[in-house]
């Protein structure tokens, strides 16, 4: 059972994110980077499947700058077997289409039964790379799964997907792409022996030329979409504190304000 996990390094959720003064880029200065939280669920699920089946490999595939190595090592320390790092300036700054194209090209050359991604990266919040990757590899994809069960013969999976107010249960022949969301599992922390072992695990850098792609097909140049500008959302100013001497008065005043001023009820 060979499982691939696409993993992205993203700014920590606590980080303060601002556009550059000209609003054309994001300012990443002084920011701490971590594994995308949804990708952690993906790594964990892959490890659990490999442990249950008792054989196979979990390979991390990451597209990102040099600093992403740190997050790759963390995934290896969690227990992944090896990693491929699409590490070339040409890959960077791409939209979902360009990123999925590079990932697909790298994965095409590998052996896989299951591909896991996070349902979205919490930086650009594109929420589409996994599905586009599936299309490029001509594989079905299922978005936002909260349960994964491998069949006895390991040829298919029964998965549960979150929908409005419920779940959808699907049977999917493998190989296929699944994107993970909260509820799938509780990711483990890397153990100390795991961290030691991770240092010796294979981490293969891949350059543009290795994939047989040209510059116009990946990264910023290969993108279909373009961000015209970044902006900060309108600030929600603090509103008014509803006055009243008693809880009764406060409740009555609020009801009145919602009705007459805000006109929302």
């Amino acid at each position: 059972m060979d499982i691939i996990v696409c993993l992205k390094q993203v700014p920590d959720t606590e980080a303060e994110i601002r556009p550059t003064p000209d609003n054309t880029e994001i300012n990443y200065e002084g920011i701490k980077f971590v594994i995308n939280v949804y990708d952690e669920y993906a790594v964990e699920e892959a490890l659990r499947i490999r442990e249950k089946v008792g054989e196979g490999t979990v390979t991390i595939v990451t597209l990102g700058p040099e600093r992403a190595v740190e997050s790759i090592r963390t995934a290896l320390a969690m227990g992944a077997d090896k990693a491929v790092h699409l590490d070339d300036a040409a890959f960077l700054g791409g939209d979902a289409n360009a990123t999925a194209r590079a990932l697909a090209k790298a994965i095409e050359a590998m052996s896989y039964d299951i591909i896991f991604c996070g349902k979205q990266a919490i930086d650009d919040d594109l929420a589409q790379v996994g599905n586009i990757l599936g299309e490029f590899l001509n594989l079905p994809s299922v978005t936002g799964i909260v349960k994964f069960d491998l069949s006895e013969d390991k040829k298919k999976a029964t998965v549960q997907r979150q929908i409005e107010g419920g779940i959808e249960v699907l049977e999917v022949p493998l190989p296929a792409v699944f994107t993970a969301t909260k509820g799938l599992n509780e990711p483990r922390y890397p153990s100390l022996p795991g961290i030691m072992k991770a240092k010796k695990k294979e981490l293969k850098p891949v350059k543009l030329g290795d994939l047989g792609l040209n510059e116009g097909e990946v990264g910023k140049k290969g993108s279909l979409t373009q961000v015209l500008k970044y902006s900060l959302p309108p600030v929600r100013g603090a509103g008014k504190i509803v006055q009243g001497d008693t809880p009764e008065e406060k409740a009555a005043n609020l009801a009145k304000l919602l009705r007459e001023e805000a006109k929302v009820i």
Partner: protein, 330 residues
């Protein structure tokens, strides 16, 4: 090249989703600006009544009506829509940012080699008649205006409650095109075994107009009854913070916030919750926010249009009664 503006008419249990109407309103505005027709895509089983309803809003209604389409299956929907898109070459395709659409349309974008923007908060026509989609990044800390330079249609999935539903003009009388449901069975790999929905009558958080969310200040799971009572009066949906969900007080389905659902209701009650950034990221596009908390320094008051500093156990039942009275006035 017909270059229409398309709206995916999502339906469930024989009813159009509210976001579909919202997008038909916005879609009409975009289509008028571009001088093209507005079309609706309708897939399902026994949906001809809905097609009729859509003709009040759209110039063309593309209808696929077949028992095969009773349940959503992305492999099947994808084949039908990508085939028609190849033939009709629409320039824009809009859908609600629902669980269905977020599964289907990224796949369509990959298949048609075009761009898609998810969770959009605004749409406009910009230079070169391109669709400018405004979408949140970093959980809403930053917004981006995105255009799709190459690839058609330009696909945008818009959060429910972003645009007002259109008023019926009555003038537009669209034409229904009944399309053949021909599927290549070899390309249908997924099988939907079951759709399980909790037997709750309330709207999902992502589409609710009013949400009543509780945090740890509720002290015990059973106290969510107070929120349920308020929600009953308002026809609202009850939400919960991460702390509450992680404690097992409420199901994951109810979580509002970064690792839960992102919501944009017209009215949001934040009750007994402090307003951690993770939570704010999931609700700060709400139209009007009300906070009730006994701690006057709780960060949630920085985001609230109306705040009550007080004991929720006292205030909430009173507020429920007051609102019941207000609503009874009609």
């Amino acid at each position: 090249m017909s270059a229409e503006v398309w709206v995916f008419a999502e339906q469930r249990d024989g009813k159009l989703r509210k976001v579909t109407l919202e997008l038909l309103g916005k879609g009409r505005e975009l289509a008028d600006k571009l001088g093209v027709k507005l079309a609706a895509l309708l897939l399902g089983s026994g949906v001809s009544d809905l097609a009729g309803e859509l003709t009040s809003y759209a110039d063309n209604v593309y209808q696929w009506d077949d028992p095969l389409l009773e349940r959503y299956n992305s492999d099947i929907y994808l084949q039908l829509i990508s085939h028609l898109a190849g033939k009709e070459t629409p320039q824009i395709l809009l859908a609600g940012a629902t669980f269905l659409a977020k599964d289907l349309f990224p796949r369509l974008a990959g298949r048609l080699d075009t761009g898609i923007a998810v969770d959009c908060l605004n749409l406009a026509i910009g230079d070169d008649n391109l669709l400018v989609a405004t979408k949140p990044l970093f959980g809403g800390k930053v917004l981006a205006d995105v255009v799709c330079r190459k690839g058609r249609p330009q696909i945008a999935l818009v959060r429910p409650n972003t645009f007002p539903p259109p008023s019926l003009s009555g003038a537009s009388k669209g034409e229904v095109h009944k399309l053949e449901v021909s599927i290549d069975p070899d390309q249908v790999k997924l099988e939907v075994l079951e759709v399980v929905r909790a037997a709750k009558e309330r709207l999902d958080l992502t589409e609710a107009e009013i949400i009543v969310t509780g945090g740890r200040g509720l002290k015990e799971p059973k106290n969510f009854r107070l929120l349920e009572d308020l929600a009953d009066v308002l026809g609202a949906t009850v939400g919960a913070t991460r702390a509450v969900v992680d404690s097992g007080w409420r199901p994951q389905d109810d979580q509002v916030g970064k690792s839960g659902k992102t919501v944009s209701p017209k009215l949001y009650f934040a009750i007994g919750l402090s307003g951690a950034i993770h939570h704010i990221m999931g609700m700060d596009t709400s139209n009007v926010v009300v906070a009730i908390n006994k701690d006057p320094r709780a960060p949630i008051f920085q985001y609230a249009d109306y705040g009550i500093v007080g004991d929720l156990f006292e205030v909430l039942p009173l507020l429920t009664e007051e609102l019941k009275r207000e609503l009874a006035k009609g």
